[in-house]
């Protein structure tokens, strides 16, 4: 189904179970809204006709238990709407708990385009092809201002912030072509920062990966190039003149710090150390000599570099085992 085929659409397509449940949520909420408002509208209209000045009508007033009335129309609607708070919060929490087997797509927002990178290394601009029936996590960051990745068919959006990773996940269950947008105003061509989200079967997706082949070689392979181009090896390679910590096998290991603490060299640690080595967490027995790469290395290069470092970690661990 192509969204552009529709002249007038009144309800958006839903491509995941969460999206369908969100629709039920808003429909049910609308029913409650009507229950709460229609009586008011009808009453106002009816009173306006019935008690119009000059109309004969019974205007005598009996006693009214006003405190009881006031408290009931304060609390009953409030408690009823709270049901929807709970329901909405439940869905929200589901959307925050990423399953362990989720496929990770790296997304970068910049003025004014999206760049998506598949786990196998292929990347695409503005458009995104994804398989259904598989949890997908989009990890995203911005290179400049705040953007917001919005996937209406999945009823999902998340801001991309400069220098901080955010994520959203979903499990689509319907193939088709849908829209994706930037929904946080980001400057001149904000409204052109959109594209198509194509959801396909797993087989089609595999075929697409084969054929699309935008950038083969994978993240880690590309990361090796980054490693070379920034001259990291000059200090970090074994046998380098400057004594810097070896990086092979670093990922996932415990690192003893100068202040006595021990931290795990996870992804955040690697990123922090590259972007701003002085910030904290200086490794024990080393002097602080590394320059900061904040504002030097673009986020996509950083992603590749970290992938590379992770892969060298995995290799080293495999070698160490036998």
């Amino acid at each position: 189904m192509n969204p552009t085929d529709l002249a007038l659409q009144l309800w958006p397509a839903a491509a995941s179970a969460t999206a369908v449940e969100t629709d039920w949520l808003i429909l049910a909420f609308t029913v409650l809204t009507l229950l709460l408002t229609v009586p008011v509208f009808v009453a106002i209209t009816w009173f306006a006709i019935r008690y119009r000045q000059g109309e004969e009508a019974d205007r005598s007033h009996g006693n009214v238990r006003s405190v009881l009335i006031e408290i009931s129309w304060m609390l009953i609607p409030f408690l009823l709407t709270l049901i929807f708070f709970v329901w909405g919060a439940r869905l929200f929490f589901i959307s925050k708990q990423v399953p362990g087997d989720a496929m990770v797509i790296e997304a970068i927002g910049r003025q004014w385009m999206w760049k998506f990178q598949h786990p196998t290394g292929q990347s695409e601009i503005n458009d995104l092809h994804l398989p259904i029936g598989q949890p997908i996590k989009i990890r995203m960051i911005s290179q400049d201002v705040i953007h917001n990745l919005y996937l209406p068919a999945l009823r999902m959006q998340m801001a991309t912030l400069p220098d901080r990773y955010t994520e959203l996940w979903f499990k689509a269950d319907r193939t088709g072509s849908y829209r994706l947008y930037c929904s946080e105003y980001c400057g001149t061509d904000h409204s052109k920062m959109d594209g198509n989200l194509t959801l396909m079967t797993q087989a089609d997706y595999a075929a697409w990966l084969q054929n699309a082949g935008a950038q083969q070689g994978g993240q880690a392979g590309a990361g090796r190039v980054v490693y070379e181009s920034y001259g990291c090896g000059a200090c970090h390679d074994p046998g380098a003149k400057v004594r810097a910590p070896a990086l092979a096998g670093l990922y996932g290991r415990e690192v003893r710090l100068a202040d006595g603490r021990t931290v795990t060299a996870d992804e955040t640690y690697l990123r922090d150390k590259i972007l701003n080595p002085n910030r904290q967490k200086l490794a024990a027995d080393y002097k602080q000599v590394m320059p900061a790469f904040r504002n030097v290395i673009p986020p996509d290069d950083l992603d590749r570099l970290v992938s590379y470092l992770k892969s060298t970690g995995a290799t080293a661990q495999q070698e160490a085992k036998p």
Binding site: F29, R59, A89, Y150, S183, T188
Partner: protein, 558 residues
């Protein structure tokens, strides 16, 4: 009830002779005639008119830019303007409407004019400060207006960093300086109202004899005082950020752009209640007057105003559910936002109960009031949709949000403003407008508004993001519908501008109390004398002492 003879003839040229019973003294419009007596006046009534003229001008500017935005959106491919022009247009619309129209609208005009009259005071506590606040307002507003029109600003009225600080190439700093200055005018107005309501009430005018209009303005003034300084400092930091790269909001140095959003919304969410509460005050005056019935649940409505003004400070994070705020904070802000429904519901149900078994006159102010109730209810409940986390994840920053806040701000504030304008027009000018025209324009505005903004709820749910100049073609039909509605709305707005101005010269003389309304402002001649009361005002024993009233039991009457 009536005072003075009612004759037709030119109003502004001939002083109105007040009832001999009340002693002598020219009314405030004719007390002095020089230009100086207007621009250096310390009379709260004249200052209210200065504000009325200025905010009407700003409303026209905001409305014209809105019209241009709607014009651009008739076609999906953005052929009418360049993207930059479009972005500047909606920024002007937002900045002008929010800061130069909606925030001062009801408080600075009707609040200024009516609070001293309603509480039985000769003036506000600090008349010179009142005049100063108008000059501060005009300085800031014209400064900003010059920079958004001459240079253009393309950040949207929200000024989010780092777009506004590091990436926009437009005149952001002058616009920010102007908005900061206008903030001081809000603070001075709020300060004046708070002090006036506390210290200037006539003997016997206890808190529970005050009209709800005064209560809601008291609540509004508290928000002015407590929220405005925070946006002032946020804007100062933004200016320093842009001018000196101080970096606190700049991620390039480790600053946090989300912190700006916190400071911004700490003000800007309560600012919604700066716009809404005075409107509720106006409606609470109109409904009893046109039902000739005592306001139902007076104390609850009064406390609800204070309740709204307090609760609104705990909910700002619902603007940031998908902006990188922690999940825990989002849940906390979400549940607190639902609490806003309680005092809002109190207001709406009590107005409805007031109409029950009343004796209704469906004149223009009442038509606006009824329209207000309907639109405010829709706007308020769609606000609860937005406070629901899962729904927000879908409709955040879409046209659903645009529709929602226009239902609150146009359906709420503007309709209340127009209702109040018609209701107090005879008091302010001493002239009656032509009733038939008033009713026609009320209907036009109600219909035009709904045709304009209801399709935007659907557009938003379909997923059309806000601030989009170029949009997918499948949204064109609803956008055309919305733009068509806006032309009806525009005609509806033009009508009152014509017939109200016409009435100043050619309208029938207004009696002191044309609506048989209660309240001290209706006990003085129309227009009121320069010193408000010619005899010592006597506070009513009971507020809203209309002929019809429900026998409310279960609590003590004060």
């Amino acid at each position: 009830m009536t005072s003075g003879t009612i004759t037709d003839g030119p109003a502004l040229r001939e002083p109105h002779t007040p009832d001999s019973r009340l002693g002598h003294g020219a009314d405030y419009l004719h007390a002095e005639h020089t230009l100086r007596s207007w621009f250096f006046t310390t009379d709260h009534k004249r200052i209210a008119l200065l504000y009325l003229a200025s905010i009407t001008a700003f409303f026209v500017i905001g409305a014209v830019t809105a019209g241009l935005v709607r014009l651009a959106l008739v076609v999906p491919d953005g052929q009418v303007f360049t993207n930059d022009t479009y972005n500047k247009l909606f920024t002007i619309h937002g900045v002008v409407m929010v800061w130069f129209f909606l925030i001062p609208s009801i408080p600075a005009t009707f609040g200024n004019f009516l609070i001293p009259l309603m509480i039985g005071a000769r003036d506000l506590a600090f008349p010179k400060l009142n005049l100063a606040s108008w000059y501060v307002f005009m300085t800031g507003a014209l400064f900003t207006l010059a920079s958004v029109v001459l240079g253009g600003v393309d950040t949207g009225w929200t000024f989010y960093t780092p777009l506004s600080t590091a990436f926009s190439n437009t005149w952001v700093v002058p616009a920010l300086i102007g908005v900061t200055i206008v903030g001081f005018s809000s603070i001075l107005t709020g300060l004046n109202f708070v002090v006036t309501i506390h210290t200037m009430r006539a003997p016997g005018m206890t808190w529970f004899r005050l009209p709800i209009f005064v209560w809601t303005h008291y609540a509004t003034s508290l928000i002015f005082l407590l929220a405005t300084p925070v946006i002032t400092v946020a804007l100062i930091l933004l200016i320093a950020e842009r001018a000196f790269h101080i970096g606190v909001f700049d991620p390039a140095y480790g600053g946090d752009p989300v912190l700006f959003q916190h400071l911004f919304w700490f003000y800007s969410h309560p600012a919604v209640y700066i716009m809404v509460l005075p409107g509720m005050g106006v409606i609470s005056e109109i409904v009893p007057a046109f039902a000739q019935k005592k306001l139902f649940g007076y104390k609850f409505v009064a406390y609800a105003a204070i309740g709204l003004a307090s609760v609104t400070f705990f909910v700002w994070g619902h603007h940031m559910f998908v902006n990188g705020q922690s999940d825990f904070a989002s849940v906390a802000f979400s549940v607190l936002s639902f609490a806003v429904a309680v005092p809002s519901a109190v207001k709406v149900y009590n107005w409805t109960a007031t109409i029950h078994k009343g004796s209704l006159k469906l004149d223009t102010p009442m038509l606006y009031a009824m329209g207000y109730i309907g639109l405010f209810v829709l706007g308020g409940l769609t606000g609860l949709y937005l406070a629901t986390l899962a729904i927000n994840q879908h409709v955040h920053a879409t046209y659903f949000v645009v529709a929602h806040f226009h239902y609150i701000m146009v359906g709420g504030t503007v309709l209340a403003f127009l209702g109040g304008l018609h209701f107090w027009w005879p008091k302010i000018t001493g002239r009656m407008y032509i009733e038939a025209w008033g009713r026609i324009s009320a209907f036009l505005i109600f219909i035009g508004f709904n045709v304009t903004f209801f399709p935007q709820f659907i557009l938003g749910y379909l997923g059309m993001p806000r601030r989009y100049h170029v949009y997918p073609p499948e949204f064109q039909f609803l956008n055309i519908l919305s733009s068509a509605g806006s032309t009806i709305l525009a005609v509806g707005y033009l009508f009152p501008m014509v017939y109200l101005v016409y009435s100043i010269w050619f309208g029938k003389r207004a009696p002191a109390n044309p609506w048989d309304a209660k309240g001290l402002e209706w006990t003085v001649p129309s227009p009121p004398p320069a010193h408000n009361f010619l005899t010592e005002p006597v506070a009513p024993k009971v507020p809203y002492d209309y002929p019809l009233q429900a026998q409310e039991t279960g609590r003590q009457h004060s």
